[in-house]
């Protein structure tokens, strides 16, 4: 990912910063510029508390390997990993990995909390991208 893009995403990736419509109160993650519900343009920053539950999940097993070895990403080294759609306590859903558990501990409906982890590390020279993952509570 391009450096300016990673930098722009820091509030979203580090702190689950989304937005709240000042007209109808709808909450969004990630942040939106237009309220999907009422069409209002004035949305304010809203930080989500990081608690949620698993709506559905899968276990990614395809070895995504790069013969050139330069672009090994964290995910690629961590096969198999759990990918889930999580519904945050406040309502919005997001896609993230579930870490620090064995594959058979994951189930639809289980509660999770956010953790701060490495997301991508393109190469030994490149920038490290940090962001949100979740673990079972």
């Amino acid at each position: 990912m391009a450096v300016p893009k990673i930098w722009r995403k820091i509030p979203e990736y580090y702190n689950l910063m989304g937005s709240k419509c000042s007209e109808c109160g709808s909450l969004y993650f990630p942040a939106r510029y237009v309220c999907k519900k009422c069409g209002h343009f004035d949305l304010k920053n809203h930080k989500f508390n990081g608690k949620g539950k698993i709506i559905t999940y899968t276990i990614i097993r395809t070895p995504v390997s790069d013969p050139e070895l330069e672009n090994i990403e964290i995910s690629a080294r961590n096969i198999p990993y759990v990918l889930a759609i999580i519904k945050l306590e406040e309502g919005p859903k997001l896609t993230a990995q579930i870490v620090d558990c064995s594959l058979d501990e994951v189930a639809i409906g289980k509660k999770v909390e956010v953790v701060f982890r490495k997301i991508l590390e393109k190469s030994r020279k490149g920038i490290i991208q940090y962001g949100y993952k979740f673990r079972l509570v």
């Binding site: 899968t58 097993r61 395809t62 390997s65 759609i85 859903k93 991508l120 962001g131 949100y132 993952k133």
Partner: protein, 384 residues
């Protein structure tokens, strides 16, 4: 409003074409469709070409211009259309609207993709650009992963089984045995599918459509031209196009592709028919679960009942509603941009009675093309 018909079709074999480049494939399909319509290059007034990513796959954009030139067209308007895996279907719709509006009389709509010049890791990355790259792909989501999550939830909520999913693959492979353009002409069993390696639980290798190179093209004509030039015009009686959130997680119901539901509704309304009137359909089976969801979203069965319905055999050739008689994306292959057009070609052949051993005697057919995990859907209804 004007009626629009398809008067010519042409496609390449789908597979790994190491010795062919993208333009070469596109021109083969285009030329075949022009000859099938008994026309000459100079009769074509516009070109719409659907392809997901010339830039990322072969480092070439501006394909509208390039393919038009290499096809032998002179200075015609040429538009590259993109909607991820729905690029082909959308190209057809743009061509259809061009004629319907009275702007053109004879237009070619094509789709092409050349995927195999880059390594498989890179292919997965390119395909992931059809998802929300910053909120899905960046966090480890792959396309098999997204559809796998839909499958897992469908199994949790509606008790759909892995065997029911596998059955989709088995059927489509069986159908492809009679399709000389298909990438795979190999019979497989439910056990073969269940024993194939897991890609993203519960989806396995044989639940997934392959990497493919290929091209397909159709010639569309206004009613007046169609009746002049063709004995067996196939009419586009309904066309629908809708979008939904690009990301799977932003949908209220993860198991309904609202884009498909909305696009189908538009097409049914325009055709003045109901789902039960459809006699064969080519649906978007990028993964087996996608075919099951399509049966529900298109209104052929109630939500949640697709698994049981598949087991009845009614979606086989000879059944009540044959699905993916061409072999579908799974066995025919999925050169991303070409798929939407190839689906329409199968529908046309069926309606002409030219599908050989795959013939279903259908008189009303439906094609269903989806982009990404459901961000875009294009549905067409065709009839004799």
């Amino acid at each position: 409003m004007r009626k629009v018909a398809i008067i010519g079709v042409g496609m390449t074999k789908f597979g790994h074409h190491w010795d062919r480049d993208l333009v070469n494939l596109a021109v083969e399909a285009g030329s075949k469709s022009i000859r099938d319509a008994n026309l000459h290059q100079k009769d074509i007034q516009a070109l719409y070409i659907g392809t997901m990513s010339g830039g990322l796959f072969i480092n070439q954009e501006h394909l509208g211009s390039m393919i038009s030139d290499y096809s032998g067209f002179k200075n015609i308007p040429s538009t590259r259309v993109e909607a991820a895996c729905a690029s082909g279907g959308l190209a057809l719709r743009q061509a259809y609207l061009d004629i319907k509006s009275g702007n053109s009389d004879i237009v070619v709509a094509g789709g092409v993709e050349k995927m195999t010049d880059i390594g498989s890791y890179s292919i997965t990355k390119v395909l992931a650009t059809a998802s929300d790259t910053e909120r899905e792909a960046a966090f480890g989501a792959t396309f098999p992963g997204l559809y796998a999550m839909m499958a897992k939830l469908h199994m949790y909520k509606y008790k759909t089984t892995e065997e029911q999913l596998a059955y989709v693959s088995v059927k489509n492979h069986k159908n492809a045995l009679y399709n000389k353009y298909a990438q795979f002409q190999k019979k497989i069993s439910v056990d073969d599918v269940l024993n194939s390696p897991l890609i993203a639980d519960p989806l396995k290798l044989l639940d997934a459509s392959p990497i493919t190179d290929g091209a397909a093209a159709v010639i569309l004509a206004s009613e007046k031209k169609a009746r002049e030039l063709c004995d067996t015009p196939v009419w586009i009686s309904g066309s629908g196009h809708a979008t939904d959130s690009i990301s799977l997680h932003d949908r209220d119901d993860l198991l309904t592709l609202r884009a498909s539901v909305a696009a189908a509704k538009q097409a049914y309304l325009q055709s003045k028919i109901q789902p039960k009137d459809i006699q064969m359909a080519e649906v978007h089976d990028c993964f087996t679960i996608a075919e099951l969801l399509a049966l529900e979203d298109l209104g052929f069965v109630k939500k949640g009942e697709s698994g049981k319905f598949i087991e009845t055999g009614q979606t086989e050739i000879g059944g009540k509603i044959p699905i993916n008689t061409s072999g579908g994306l799974k066995a025919k292959g999925h050169p991303v941009g070409a798929t939407g057009i190839a689906q329409v070609i199968e529908a046309v052949l069926q309606l002409r009675g030219d599908a050989g051993k795959r013939n279903t005697n259908a008189e009303i057919a439906l094609t269903h093309n989806v982009g990404g995990s459901g961000g875009t859907s294009v549905v067409h209804i065709l009839r004799r």
